[in-house]
Each structure stands twice: as structure tokens, then as C-alpha cells.
Amino acid sequence: MAIIEIEQPKAEEQHSEPVRVRGLPFFPHFLLREVVVMCLIGGSLLLLASYYPAGLLSPADPFTTPTPIYPEWYFLYVFGFLKFWTFDLGPIPAKIIGVTVPMVLWYGLLILVPFIDRNPSADIRNRKIAVALGVIALLGILFFTYYGIVHGE
């Protein structure tokens, strides 16, 4: 028979909490607030759903292309970039750049963000470069989204 000993925290250890956090205890205060916010969001979704029901066009027809067609709004920037980039770079055809940059390169860059930005400060005043790059990226996404809308097929 095996006996397992589990160390119980000593009484004095329980009292000397090293970091004191000001805040709401999860139950009931925080949970109550969460439930209220959840009801508000859920209610808004129900309202939206009843006033603006999901659409349904005519059945899919592989032989008639409707115009204009757009992808979902969160893919518009990919679509927009593809329309925007029309020039070959040396041996690389424009289309390859048009699809690779917004999908592979962009996501690769996003994954690497914490490893590229080695600045330990989280204070926005000490992160001028990161903030500037972030704003440029946001404006870029917005611009290509707009471009995608204007140049829909």
C-alpha cells in the first residue's frame, strides 16, 4: 500500500499573501456584473437578429455570376490587396504577391510580434515604434478593405 503525503499550506503562509490585488472577488460581485453584461450583449444580438434577419438570396447557380460579389467583410482586405497589387516584382508574378502578402506574410508577422518586439516596457509612452507600426498596420487594413469594397467584382 502506498501512502501519499500532501503538504498542507501552513497557517502563517496563508496569512502572508505577498501581492495584494485590489479587485472584486469572482463570486458573487464579479459574476453578477458579468451576468448583467452578458444579458445586455445577448439582448442586443436578439434585437439585431429580429430587425435585420440573416439574408438568403436565390439558390446557387454555377452558370450565372452575380454582380457585384464581395467576400465576408473580414476578408475584404485580402481581396482588396489582391486587386491593388498589379505589378510583378522581378520574377515573382503580381498575383503571387497579391495572395501571399496578406495571408502568409501578414499572419507570419502577427505570430512573431512578441518575439520581434523585445522592448520589455508595456507603458505606451516607451513603445513609440510598436505603436506607430500598429497604427500603420491598422490604417493599411482599413485602406485595403476600402479598396476591396470599391473594386468589387
Binding site: E34, L56, P62, P66
Partner: protein, 228 residues
Amino acid sequence: MPEQLEVSMTIYDKIYKWLDDRFKLRELLPSIVKHPAPEYAVSNPLYCLGGTAFLCFLILVITGIFLAMYYKPTPDEAYKSVQNIMTAVPMGSLVRSTHHWAANTMIAAVMLHMIRIYFMGAYKKPRELNWVVGIFLLLTVTTFGFSGYLLPWDQLSFWATKIGTGIAGSLPVIGGYISLLLMGGNDIGADTLTRFFAIHVLILPIAIATLLGLHFIMVRIQGISGRL
């Protein structure tokens, strides 16, 4: 326990005691129940965005299960089954539209959540890996949207998917495989629809459940970043 104490216990006390005797709630619960939500996070609505995305996810699971009970993933039946949901099934229109709005809201919330993480520098040590998991969540969520878009099999679904698979298919090296894998052939047809359905209701839900599990465990272990 003395007799009179037992009598004065409410039904909740009794249930609690019954469970406590078996699962040591006394030791387990305080760490959950008393765990403080830090003030800087409670007082700033920007910290709500992750939770909003998660709430949308829960709503999507529930409404999605109901839709799956009426939806038929074949080219002949898909459109008719969605039409049936919209016109004949009780509350069908509300359930489908809520699924639609929750999906779009979730994607918006995830993007804004990510923007908050970026500008607050919340991805910095020790949270690098949670950012990486987050990017995979972003990919999963947008793929959810992409695969769901085809399912109603109307003109918009069909042609938007045509553009989407076309773009994915022209990626160098892997593009051909991706488009074959997605479409199950050279064009969008019955195979594509069943594949997108399987991706939407089986593969992606498993993927997102795993990623969300990792994401939340890491948040719990590392705490919410903020001014100390």
C-alpha cells in the same frame, strides 16, 4: 453532527455538505470563488472584449446545434432546408439570424480584443505563447466564418466561396493542395459542401475548444496583465 444542527440546515446547506463530504469543496471552492478580478481590469471595458467573444461563441454553439437539426448538407437540399428554417420552423428565423449576428460580432470582438492586447503590450513576457495561441484562434474564427458562408448554398455563398477558394488556391506551392483539400475536386460542388459542413461543425469546433482551453488556462496561470 448534532441532531438539532442537522434540522436547522437549509436544503442548500445540506446539498453543500453532501458534496463537501465527497469532493472537499471547502478546499476547492475558495480559490475559484474568492479569486479576485483585478480593479484595473474590472473598471476598463476594453478588458470585456475577450469575454464578449467567448459569450458569442457560446451563443453560436447553442444556435448552431439547433440549426444542425434542420440543415441538410447536400446541393439539392441545403438551400431548401435553410428556406424551411427561415419560413416554417418555429423561431427558425430568429435562431439563424442570431447565429449570423453572433458570428459577425464574435469576429469583430476578437479583432478588437487583439488590438487591445497589441496596444497595451499585453503579449509581452510571460504571455508570448498566449498571443501565438490567440493568432491561431483568429485563424480558426475567420475559417469558421468562411466555411459557414457556403452552407446556405445561395448565390452569395457560392460565388463568395468561389473567390475565397480561388485566392487560397493561388498561393504558391501549397495553394493547389489547399484548394483540393477544401473543394474535394476542381470545382465547388456536392463534395465541397459536405466538406465545408464537416469543417464547420466538427473540425473547427474541436480546434477552437482546444485553443480556448489553452488560452484560458494561460490567462488563469499568468493573470491579467496590468499596472502593479
